[in-house]
Symmetry: D3
Amino acid sequence: MVIKLSGSLFDSDILEITKLSELIKKLVREGVRFVLVAGGGAEARKFIKRGRRLGLDESTLDEIGIQVARLNAMLLIGGLGDLAYPSVPTTLEELTLAFETGKVVVLGGLHPGQSTNAVAALAAERVKADLFINATDVDGVYDRDPDLYPSAKLLSEIDLKELKRILGRTSTKAGTYELLDPIALRIIERSKLKCIIVRCKADIIEKAIKGEKVGTVVVI
Amino acid sequence: MVIKLSGSLFDSDILEITKLSELIKKLVREGVRFVLVAGGGAEARKFIKRGRRLGLDESTLDEIGIQVARLNAMLLIGGLGDLAYPSVPTTLEELTLAFETGKVVVLGGLHPGQSTNAVAALAAERVKADLFINATDVDGVYDRDPDLYPSAKLLSEIDLKELKRILGRTSTKAGTYELLDPIALRIIERSKLKCIIVRCKADIIEKAIKGEKVGTVVVI
Amino acid sequence: MVIKLSGSLFDSDILEITKLSELIKKLVREGVRFVLVAGGGAEARKFIKRGRRLGLDESTLDEIGIQVARLNAMLLIGGLGDLAYPSVPTTLEELTLAFETGKVVVLGGLHPGQSTNAVAALAAERVKADLFINATDVDGVYDRDPDLYPSAKLLSEIDLKELKRILGRTSTKAGTYELLDPIALRIIERSKLKCIIVRCKADIIEKAIKGEKVGTVVVI
Amino acid sequence: MVIKLSGSLFDSDILEITKLSELIKKLVREGVRFVLVAGGGAEARKFIKRGRRLGLDESTLDEIGIQVARLNAMLLIGGLGDLAYPSVPTTLEELTLAFETGKVVVLGGLHPGQSTNAVAALAAERVKADLFINATDVDGVYDRDPDLYPSAKLLSEIDLKELKRILGRTSTKAGTYELLDPIALRIIERSKLKCIIVRCKADIIEKAIKGEKVGTVVVI
Amino acid sequence: MVIKLSGSLFDSDILEITKLSELIKKLVREGVRFVLVAGGGAEARKFIKRGRRLGLDESTLDEIGIQVARLNAMLLIGGLGDLAYPSVPTTLEELTLAFETGKVVVLGGLHPGQSTNAVAALAAERVKADLFINATDVDGVYDRDPDLYPSAKLLSEIDLKELKRILGRTSTKAGTYELLDPIALRIIERSKLKCIIVRCKADIIEKAIKGEKVGTVVVI
Amino acid sequence: MVIKLSGSLFDSDILEITKLSELIKKLVREGVRFVLVAGGGAEARKFIKRGRRLGLDESTLDEIGIQVARLNAMLLIGGLGDLAYPSVPTTLEELTLAFETGKVVVLGGLHPGQSTNAVAALAAERVKADLFINATDVDGVYDRDPDLYPSAKLLSEIDLKELKRILGRTSTKAGTYELLDPIALRIIERSKLKCIIVRCKADIIEKAIKGEKVGTVVVI
């Protein structure tokens, strides 16, 4: 099981991190194995914004975002205690070896040009995960933009091709990656990963894992 | 100046590598600075195909493709002799440091999930290149598929958004990356890179560098 | 010349970073060579505080502080542009090689258990610096605590042994390092480094470099 | 148990790799522990030949051969699936740590100047192997050159000193290493390794492991 | 349990190393887990002295001392055989991962500016050790200098603050580090480590582990 | 120009290191470029002997010898001061990059199974050296063993094949490598390196470089 955790989880009070850690601990005791991928969140955006104004190029700003995501990953390792692999892998190869130890592995970003969504998809592919949960700041995918149309309806599932079309028009600067970036989409497609998009809350993630109906399932 | 070299350059006789090396040497003496990115070509596809049949996952197959592209990069370093940075960088940070030495730097792939096109775009962004030449197995972008429609017309320029739309439907397995992958497109967009798509022949590449009309220019 | 820059420089508006960058650029053109060491500042303290509450051990918290200091170093590299070595060394050996290139090298932290003051002192020793400026949040060393005694007098110089005695009673948790930590003091002593403690403002640092009387000189 | 696998295993159809993988899996289930060393084969020779014509020096060509051998090792890891350590060690230290995990470890080359035979001998020494099987393209050692003398007799054993004398006159360019290179011979000698030279076929390797009479045993 | 072993252990006959190894093996079988830290000893001092005369700076001399301590660590790994992690970690992160394997981990030095005492304290903090034994060339801490005052009394315990005061006046060149360097003292303080200072003899170390009264306990 | 320096140079007083450093400095000012390779000497043999008695395997003992040779290399870097590349490369790739800087590069060993002679030959091949001086503890190659036959005659040149034959019978344990190990011989052969065997004294090395008749020239 691979879960991409929205960077916003790390922006607020540590309570949210603690809650999620408790959920993961419980599920590990039930035999579930995890790779968690921390996003960069508001901290990453702050550093990136300042770096851009100081003249850093976009791929270096990507690296700054990756570093902040790794700091968030360290916080989560703290929350998980002895269950967590004590170090944040920086390559897929390190991830593979870390996963072999049987511990919960926590990743931040890996490489410029790839959002943490893509990292999570690559990780899911590498560890042959049964499920890739993309825990975001929204409840799932809507038929229309819910900010503009209050009557927009949450979709319980969406076809990958349709999702590709919807996501095809988003902005591309470092720190502004979207729901699922194009690489994430292609990896889901090429390895036929089972993917659910949900809101990043411990109770909702638990439901998704238990197979209850939450968020939006991506159908290939 | 960053040039992505089609893997097919390395599939044939070494004559093509030698010709290209001579061109680069001449231009370096005229003061042009280069980052070259070698593709994987038929060798990469052969290894990937066998690995897939043996059960390796897609991201590991990406890594195999990256390794073969690096072997091709080594061959090109041989052709360039003392003008080349003697080692193939494996991260953008190493590229940055290598480029500082003033030598021609030759890259293969960098990271799973990214084609060598994306690598070339990231490199162009990092070294703040004036021009990113994507040297491929076709003459440029056509208005229709030239294999199916003999009357298809080569476009002298194409809008990035239009290109995105055209390339939005290609296959996604390791070793089958296309003209410009989605990451390459976004990097071109976010850093407003000047990009020309041409056929990978020394004389045509020279024309593109000299500013003559060849291939298809991507307009942002 | 080695300058330790207070982390507070990076907490405020980027204006301060820009000012300092302009000063460094001017001095480099006059032939001065620099190693700059960025502190972690409020961002580091925030991450460390949250990590401690989540149960991370003190040496891991040190590593978190080091990572944040390196992010600050990246921002400064942005401000310095082409004059800066484009990457943040993570060992003294990397520093040595980076310094050989003739560029301005910017460091963050290096190793748990050592503050960025100690890093700056080790760097000064390694590059055989003529001067080690410790740019802090205070004007220099006072004869009494200036927060408690408004009549406290700024000392224009202080004996190293006396300084050692004064600093001998400070707290020791990650993120709360003081003016000069014990290692910094011993390195100043063993290699007889010339050290000035000043407030971290571009104009004051310039005065210190020009040899004007500012801050407190450490006398060995 | 350490087995050096002839590069020719990887030149043909993947059927041979699959057969060998099945044999290894069976023996692992019986409790045998393995380090496998993949040779470079025809692919390596092809890359080396082209690199030599392009002007690369011999030790760089050795590195190219090493990289190809590592690609072959990755294919074998695919064939072995979960029983294999998922990454190819690049130093003896990494081998040691990989071997500690209890998995089958697959190596390619390690260092210029050493053939994959020498790598296998060093690996056998490091993991204190009971047996070092050198699986080659011949049935074993003959009393005369079997290509020239059809009546040449396969020796069931040969003294190390005699073998040294026979092998003392072979060519030395990258990619043309012989049956056992001088380093392999010295390592066999200094650590008194039990070594058998056999043809690289799954059924013959199995016989050698079971203690049946095949190939040529090296007597120290 | 973390034990810092005086470098003098490695200066004499290997008998002392063997004795200590036997003790550790016995205790491991009883379920105790160890990180051992080897000092540099006379060999380190010899290399450092020669390097200083040849003009190397103090922090490079620190690195030479670290390398020698790692060689001593390798000898101890030899003595411990299969119980030891087969490689000497060079960062705290590597230590953490090595410790996870359940083996006895042996360290030398880690970073310039830190004695092997500080390394041992950081290691104790990182693995959350119950006890940090500092095995030295003296029986413990005395009320006066026992070399000058034959009537000096061995203290069974000493307050950390008092110890800090006593150790505050020692020399600072590479290779001359003292009983506990200032970083070690601060780490003991910040993480409230239980620390005993004893003579580096197998029988005395065993007593300290068993809780018998030997050496000097540091009271926080 | 590549010079292999006998480990015995580092065993005695630092005077010999200083003398050699002065010679190198003088020749660098005359425009000669150097790679120097330090042997391990008596220190290496001492550590290896103790490690063998403690049960370390031969390839680990090789690594210990490599580490000691690197310490000797550091001493020489001290003697050379600013002319030397400040760090000891640990791979041929690092050597290549270090050599590009124009500094004198000093190596110790590189890889188990290869003596520092082989390292020097590989280095000579890699930097395309005009001359490889093997500075040893003897005056050159004799027609008979000079220890047994006082009338043995120093050969002014020797055919490579003859040398191979003579050296074919030496011992093989770590730390006991001979005049030129088999790999060194093959590298000399495959890359047609010009090699002279002389005694390791500054004045004799100078003569060899100036083209005067000293030691024994290896004829291919």
